[in-house]
């Protein structure tokens, strides 16, 4: 599009001319430019310029002569830049209303102007520039007359006589608007008149030649464009186009080639105009259809056999221009699909609305032009002559015509060319340009456009064309780059023929660039492509397959041979210099080709490895099958195969026995490896080469075959990633072929399930790990669990013992409910430590690195243990809560010294241990025998359950503490004592053990047995509540046969008590026993501790067993702080345990009654006086009984 002149590319803009008063021209020009429909201004400062501008050439030739051409080259430019539609003449108001001289000057200027514009039919506008508003004010009759006179002189309508006031801002805007309106109106009128004038010519057929007819139509269209009448413009352009079509074949004075060139050029311009108008009018569909017709009409017009390249170049330009037009207008275009749907009868497709399609075709035609130009150039051998004769050829007056410019003295004259000269000229022109770059540029635009449309395949085709051009230009780097991009898609979609073609280019580029590796890669890939013998018939027609040659089996074989030669030859080989000196494999420059799972070279070499067993024991050998498959057309002799595993010590090599002697280069490193020999290692097309060997590994864990290195020739090897038969993908490309598929292994099950990896089991431990627990653990004690490790079979090195305590119930040693409790006192079960090796003093150091990560986790390193030796330690575990736990102990060690890499052997043991509470402690507080104080708190109707026990102040109370063994394990009680909490308590309360005989040493407590101890408690201060202290029971587990166990202290806190001052104390006294028939005295002593007189009612009930004397009922008064004693004499009437007559007291002040308990009023009656051994001891013993 750029090669078109401006006047053609842009729609025409009306042109007016300003004459006179040059100082006002810029303001008016810029105003007219900025209008919505801009008007170009030809500013003529001087009246004398006008005739020059408007001068019309007098036609020298008669109308009978045929025109020299169809369209004049400069006609459009002339009307756009030189010939105005109207002339606006500016007069200063001072001149108009000035003196006679000035007026005369105005008149003569006007006359001259009128004379000049008349032949062109140019409109005239007279503008009077008012110099100042004051001048207008002074306008008088004279001025008015002058105006009228001016109008008459100018022969203009009064509305075309305008005032222009540049000085007043508001007036200026108005007068400019006025000018603009009048100018555009008149310009449009001018163009309409001109158009009509020529149209009349067309309609009256006032022409003798089709050239003129066409030219008139063109002019009408241009004039219509001037006044933006697009429809009419389009109509006449189309008409002109139609006439032009008819002119094809008519004879003129021009030689035939140049005639066609001219017609083509004009048609091109018309087509451009029509397409532009249609596209700008939004009629994309029409534009595309029109272009199709244009294309069809002119495509076959290859009449110029001498210079076909001219036609192709022209065609290419058509497509390019249309593509560019479409691209610029596609921004405003709606979606393409609406056009496609929009009523076409299926003749237009999606791509025809895309610029990419046209760019691609432009490139195609340019390519044709290039090739035909080459042919033409090759036919003209006298190139020197060509150059000299066409030096002075220039475009001539008419569109699409060329002529020689001859200098004759000062004058230049045009001399027509003969067709031969013209062809020579175009050939010379064609040689000047490198079409390839242009083609690449076009294709790149198409490629980008297709890419943006996600049309990958179209894009790839363009890419391939680009690559071909680069290849043509010997730019191999770019060719390779582009081909590498596009081949991916072809590989993915399996278009073998296309892959073949692209690979051909890649291969040649690599060869040219001297890239051995890529050359071999591409060659091998090509040779392994599924181009089968029977399908080669299909491809017989290939001529354009480029450097790849025909895709055929022969070609594949040829390519393979070429590459194999490369493998086989050495740098010393004389053959290497023969073809391409750059491509060689030497000792310094060996080549390793890697083939992974996604490589396109999998077809060249596919390695499948299958272990026959999924799991093997260490040091036990199993079978491994290696299968290789190649699709190369010729058989390959393999020199050596290396199998590499993730355990390097398992690596081994397979050597071709036949070629072993020839391949002498086995490095010393390889010598240490295992070598297997195979009778023949030949890989034939599509046939698995299966090799089965034994393999064993010492190391436990995964044994996986990583890669297979296949060595072909001295300096070339292929490294294949090993694949499992079970999960092997199909071969790319070959999977679409109808071919016999075989299994990589003979055993079909193995082919379906075989894996390239196997699991090697851990070595068996020859070590005993023993955990012993002696019964359940008791809460509070340090429970000892001995761990014994005895090596039976091999030594233990760098062993580590891991200890874990896990709650049996599975919820850890914390349970959510007890979190708070356990937070307070730590873990329920705690690993305290690991203690004690028995014999080895040196292992003392190893204890220091006990790494107690948690209270439930321990890690200890154990010393080296020789075979047959034993090592043991003890775990100390303490229970805080009765809970069963699981103890896990695991030992990890290695059986070899100084071999850090060797596998660790692990043994695990677990033991469940119950945790139990050893002793439960109870207590009981009792009042003194037959002595009952009245405590007011007991009278008050408090029935709170949590009410504290009240103790009378100053009285000796009895506290019995009992500890019972609640396990089956006998325990030894060492001591039971009460510890008071704080110092003040010792003064407020006196607690001392009972007066009974103090037991010395420990007491054995078997299951369910109780241990009791009696204390007296005498509160000394009236302070409530009173803390009694904590019972401390020190005990130890019965050691049995073992060494004595440690002493455990179990503590039990006694509840608080109230201390109260008793009001009344009733105590009854009677002898410790009675003898039948012997009278005895029975006292009831009432102590009044209050400062008040106490009234008490006494009631005594009879007893059958006793004869009693004394009052049965009565009221006694007890004075403050004094005692009152009631005494009864009773005679026992029957022997045995008898109830004394029961009395009851009722305190009227406190409304409290008292009756002694039946135990307190029980007495034993002997039938006769008992005989005691020592009369002296008797009283003492009885005394002690009574006082308890």
């Amino acid at each position: 599009m750029e090669e078109y002149p401006d006047e053609l590319r842009n729609p025409p803009v009306a042109l007016i001319s300003l004459v006179g008063c040059p100082e006002h021209h810029p303001a008016i020009s810029s105003y007219l430019h900025s209008q919505q429909h801009p008007i170009n201004v030809l500013a003529l400062p001087d009246f004398s310029k006008v005739p020059v501008v408007l001068a019309k050439k007098v036609k020298d030739s008669g109308s009978e002569d045929p025109p020299g051409g169809i369209l004049k080259r400069d006609w459009l430019l002339k009307h756009r830049t030189k010939i105005p539609a109207l002339v606006a003449v500016l007069f200063s108001s001072l001149d108009v209303s000035g003196g006679p001289t000035q007026w005369l000057q105005v008149c003569s200027d006007l006359e001259n102007l009128k004379a000049a514009i008349r032949p062109r039919n140019v409109k005239l506008v007279v503008v009077v520039v008012l110099q100042s508003s004051s001048a207008e004010l002074h306008a008088d009759g004279n001025n008015e007359d002058r105006m009228i006179a001016l109008k008459k002189r100018a022969e203009v309508d009064s509305k075309y006589l305008l005032m222009y006031t540049p000085n007043d801002v508001s007036e200026l805007k108005q007068s400019l608007d006025r000018l603009g309106n009048v100018f555009s109106e008149l310009a449009s009128a001018h163009y309409r008149e001109e158009g009509r004038r020529i149209r009349t010519k067309v309609e009256k057929r006032g022409y003798n030649f089709p050239e003129l007819h066409m030219r008139y139509c063109f002019k009408v269209a241009i004039y219509a464009e001037f006044r933006r009448d697009w429809n009419e413009a389009l109509k006449f352009y189309e008409e002109a186009y139609r006439i032009l079509r008819q002119m094809v074949g008519t004879k003129t004075r021009l030689p035939p080639i140049q005639r066609i060139v001219e017609i083509n050029s004009v048609a091109e311009q018309l087509q451009f105009k029509i397409s532009t108008l249609l596209l700008h009018g939004g009629k994309v569909l029409d534009a595309v259809q029109w272009f199709c017709q244009h294309n069809v009409a002119y495509r076959r017009l290859v009449r110029v056999t001498e210079a076909p390249y001219l036609h192709w170049e022209w065609m290419s330009r058509q497509f390019l221009v249309f593509a560019e037009l479409l691209e610029t207008s596609s921004a405003t275009m709606q979606s393409i699909s609406s056009f496609v749907v929009g009523g076409t009868d299926g003749t237009l497709t999606e791509w025809e609305f895309r610029p990419a399609y046209y760019y691609q075709l432009a490139a195609t035609y340019l390519k044709k032009k290039q090739s035909s130009l080459e042919i033409s150039l090759s036919m003209t051998d006298n190139s020197s002559e060509v150059d000299s004769s066409i030096d002075s050829v220039v475009p001539s007056t008419y569109v699409g015509q060329f002529a020689r410019l001859l200098e004759q003295g000062d004058e230049l004259s045009m001399q027509p060319l003969s067709d031969e000269q013209y062809v020579q000229y175009t050939l010379a022109e064609g040689k000047r340009f490198q079409d390839s770059y242009e083609i690449i540029a076009l294709l790149k635009r198409a490629y980008e456009s297709y890419s943006s449309l996600k049309a990958q395949r179209m894009g790839s085709t363009c890419g391939l064309e680009i690559a071909k051009e680069y290849f043509f230009l010997n730019n191999y780097v770019n060719t390779k780059q582009v081909c590498d991009d596009i081949i991916t898609l072809y590989r993915q979609e399996g278009w073998v023929a296309l892959i073949w073609e692209v690979l051909g280019y890649l291969r040649e580029c690599s060869r040219k660039l001297g890239a051995v590796k890529s050359f071999i890669e591409y060659s091998l890939e090509m040779a392994a492509l599924p181009v089968l013998p029977d399908t080669s018939i299909t491809f017989l027609g290939f001529m354009e397959s480029g450097p790849a040659g025909l895709p055929s089996l022969q070609q594949r074989e040829h390519i393979q041979k070429e590459v194999m030669e490369l493998f086989g030859k050495d740098s010393r080989d004389g053959l290497s210099a023969e073809k391409s000196t750059d491509l060689r494999l030497t000792e310094e420059n060996p080549l390793n080709l890697e083939i992974d799972l996604v490589s396109p070279l999998r077809t060249v070499m596919l390695a499948s490895v299958a272990f026959h067993e999924q799991m093997i024991k260490p040091s036990v050998s199993t079978l491994i099958t290696l299968s290789l498959l190649s699709q190369l057309p010729l058989s390959i002799q393999i020199d050596k195969i290396d199998l590499q595993f993730n355990q390097p010590q398992c690596n081994f090599s397979i050597i071709n026995k036949e070629r072993y002697t020839s391949t002498t280069m086995i490095s010393s490193v390889q010598k240490s490896q295992r070598m297997e020999k195979a009778s023949s290692l030949v890989l034939t097309t599509n046939r698995w080469l299966r090799l089965t060997f034994e393999i064993k590994s010492e190391q436990s864990g995964k044994l996986e075959c990583v890669s297979i290195i296949v060595k072909l020739g001295p300096h070339f090897s292929i490294i294949c990633r090993a694949e499992s038969p079970a999960s092997m993908d199909d071969l790319p490309l070959w999977k679409f072929e109808d071919r016999v598929e075989t299994f990589p292994t003979k055993d079909p099950t193995l082919a379906l399930t075989g894996q390239k990896a196997t699991q090697i089991e851990e070595p068996e431990p020859h070590v005993d790990l023993a955990l012993v627990a002696t019964g359940p653990a008791l809460v509070g004690e340090s429970f000892i669990v001995p761990v014994t490790i005895s090596a039976k079979g091999h030594d233990v090195y760098s062993g580590e013992l891991k200890i874990n305590l896990v709650d049996v119930r599975g919820d850890g040693l914390f349970s959510p409910r007890e979190t708070e409790a356990s937070f307070l006192d730590g873990h329920h079960v705690e690993l305290l430590g690991i203690a004690g090796a028995e014999q080895e003093g040196k292992s003392q150091g190893s204890y220091s690195n006990i790494n107690r990560i948690q209270q439930s986790f321990g890690l200890v390193s154990i010393p080296n243990i020789k075979n047959g030796e034993t090592w043991s330690c003890e775990l100390e575990i303490k229970w805080h809560q009765p809970k069963p736990i699981m103890l896990f102990v695991s030992l990890g060690y290695s059986s070899q010294e100084k071999d850090s890499t060797s596998q660790k052997i692990n043994i695990h043991k677990s033991l469940q241990i119950e945790g139990k509470i050893a002793v439960t402690i109870n207590h009981r507080i009792m009042l003194p025998f037959r002595r009952d104080p009245l405590l007011l708190s007991m009278v008050k109707p408090f029935n709170d359950a949590d009410q504290l026990v009240s103790l009378p102040l100053g009285e000796s109370n009895v506290l019995i503490v009992s500890a019972s063994n609640c396990t089956e394990i006998p325990i030894w009680v060492e001591s039971l004592s009460i510890e008071t909490d704080f110092i003040s308590a010792s003064s407020s309360c006196c607690i001392k053990p009972g007066s009974g005989p103090e037991s010395t040493g420990s007491t054995l407590l078997v299951a369910e047995e109780e241990y009791k101890k009696v204390f007296t408690v005498k509160p000394e201060v009236d302070s409530a509540p009173l803390s009694l202290g904590i019972v401390c029971l020190r005990w130890r587990r019965d050691p049995g046969h073992h060494e004595p166990s440690t002493i455990v202290t179990t503590k039990h806190r006694l509840p608080h008590v109230n201390v109260e001052v008793p009001t009344l104390i009733v105590s009854s006294e009677c002898p410790p026993y009675a003898v039948l028939g012997d009278p005895l005295t029975y006292f009831v002593k009432i102590q009044n501790q209050t400062p008040l007189l106490q009234e008490l009612k006494v009631l005594l009930s009879d007893s059958q067993s006793f004869l009693m004397s004394g009052t049965h009922s009565g009221t006694v008064f007890v004075l403050p702080k004094s005692d009152h004693v009631l005494s009864y004499k009773v005679i026992p009437l029957s022997s045995g345990t008898q109830q004394l007559p029961k009395y009851s007291l009722t305190s009227s002040r406190y409304s409290a009654g008292f009756q002694p308990s039946s135990a307190a009023s029980t007495i034993f009656v002997f039938p006769s006086k008992p005989l005691f051994k020592g009369a002296n001891d008797r009283g003492k013993n009885l005394e002690s009984v009574a006082t308890i």
């Binding site: 999606e350 075709l361 049309a455 023929a497 299909t538």
Partner: protein
């Protein structure tokens, strides 16, 4: 005249838009070019399939119509319900739609017969000679009908 016919497999997962059958009927040197033309036409098929026309009668249409014109050829497409694509390349400028439709219908029938062969593995190239002969006959018949 039909210069090339092709069957292209559907794209499911790993399976590509690979040619199942491609046969050109020219004596000229453009067989490779026809491969390109057929391959490029898949772009148009994709576009048609992804942006189906809303109009009613096209809804269940297997015949895709003219895919795109190149400088010398016109490419027509047909898509089966199993998303197998049939492509035919003609050199004729004016071909009746009905003729092409008819051609594709026969083509489809031949394909169905070929893949119904129990020895045919779906997804692999069609190598049956009978099929090739049948296609050749259909192509010739089309040439006669369109010429006549």
């Amino acid at each position: 005249m039909i210069v090339c016919v092709a069957i292209v497999g559907h794209q499911v997962g790993n399976l590509a838009n690979n040619p199942l059958y491609i046969q050109s009927f020219t004596d000229g040197d453009d067989a490779l070019k026809l491969h390109h033309v057929v391959h490029c036409s898949l772009d148009v098929v994709d576009e048609r399939v992804n942006n189906p026309k809303k109009s009613g009668p096209m809804l269940n249409e297997t015949y895709l119509g003219l895919l795109y014109p190149t400088e010398n050829y016109k490419v027509y497409g047909y898509l089966t319900n199993t998303k197998v694509k049939f492509i035919s390349v003609t050199t004729d400028l004016d071909v009746k739609d009905a003729d092409v439709r008819n051609f594709f219908r026969k083509f489809h029938a031949a394909y169905v017969d070929a893949v119904s062969n129990p020895f045919h593995v779906p997804g692999k190239k069609i190598t049956s000679k009978t099929f090739a002969e049948r296609i050749s006959t259909i192509v010739k018949a089309f040439g006669l009908s369109s010429a006549g």
